[in-house]
């Protein structure tokens, strides 16, 4: 992994090279908020992760059903119609081995349990930051 000039905790460009994945990684952002979708997508792409973004959970399920694969899937908790945990459940039911990260605006233990029970690997509160993303990309990269 190319960590020269950067650190796992941050992405300080002033220190030289920005952290970037060494392998071709892919990610899917599922969020009905345009601002969150745009920021999470830009953040992942800045680390060399090819990222797609969709708004509803159904679109994410359809995407995977069509054969698309992703190393990382970030799913918002409160999605319209098909909520986050249900989206994760359906993705897992298709046999997807992606790392699934549930995400929410207000951390709630009950929501965390719901997401983990649905097959998610983790659950975090927004905003998505380099401190959260970089260790995940590191893990996927290796």
């Amino acid at each position: 992994m190319d960590m020269s000039g950067g650190s796992a905790e941050g992405n300080d460009k002033s220190e030289g090279q920005r952290f970037s994945s060494k392998n071709k990684l892919t990610a899917l952002v599922v969020d009905n908020g345009g601002v969150c979708r745009a920021i999470q997508t830009a953040l992942l792409r800045s680390y060399g992760v090819e990222t797609e973004a969709v708004e509803p959970g159904e679109a994410a399920v359809q995407l995977l059903a069509s054969g698309a694969t992703f190393n990382l899937i970030i799913i918002e908790m409160l999605l319209p119609v098909l909520n986050g945990p249900e989206t994760a459940r359906q993705i897992r039911a298709m046999g997807a081995q992606s790392k699934i990260l549930g995400i929410t605006s207000f951390f709630d233990g009950r929501q965390q349990q719901e997401f983990l029970a649905a097959g998610a690997d983790g659950f975090i509160e927004k905003p998505v930051s380099p401190e959260i993303v970089i260790p995940i990309i590191w893990e996927l990269d290796n």
């Binding site: 601002v35 953040l43 207000f106 905003p127």
Partner: protein, 204 residues
Amino acid sequence: MDRNHLKRQVDLMKRSLFDQGYLDEQFIQLEELQDDDNPNFVEEIVTLFFNDSARLLQNIEQALVSVPIDFARLDNYMHQFKGSSSSIGAKRVKNECTRFKEYCTAGNAEGCFRTFVQVKQEHAILRTKLETYFQAYISFMCVFVLVIFALTYICLLFCLYLFSWQDKLDHLGLQEVKLDDYMDEGGSLIIDLYYKYDKAHMIE
């Protein structure tokens, strides 16, 4: 217009936004994502935020005056609003959203009304401050670009002027003479032009 003065102004404004608690480190993360491929990323995201949040605030306001109040719907709207606020680093707005959520979860309508006033207030203040900040930033960038353009133009004129000397000397029948004799004591001549002085042509 003093470019350095403008830059200081922009830096002071930004520092003030952080010192007064309007923004947190998440805003810096947005700036880190701005590069040559996305030169206006921060402004675009902030503009998107204020467009989206205006709609959400309207939805929340309508939900608050509905009878009976649908706290689940209110919670959903605030969930989305808080998510985007925290994602752009709108610290004070985010904090008011958290207070609102507590009243909403408790089914406390009066508390919701009260904190919603604060949410709207912080949102409006942040909007004004960021609009002013971006206007100053754009002014600085315009001056910066103008200065670069002016310097480039001056260099181009200088090069054209130097090359025009060659034409004038050729016209006078001069061949190459070495211009080392014209170097100042510091030897700071940037371009060496070599011409030879042809006495035969001068006689003619």
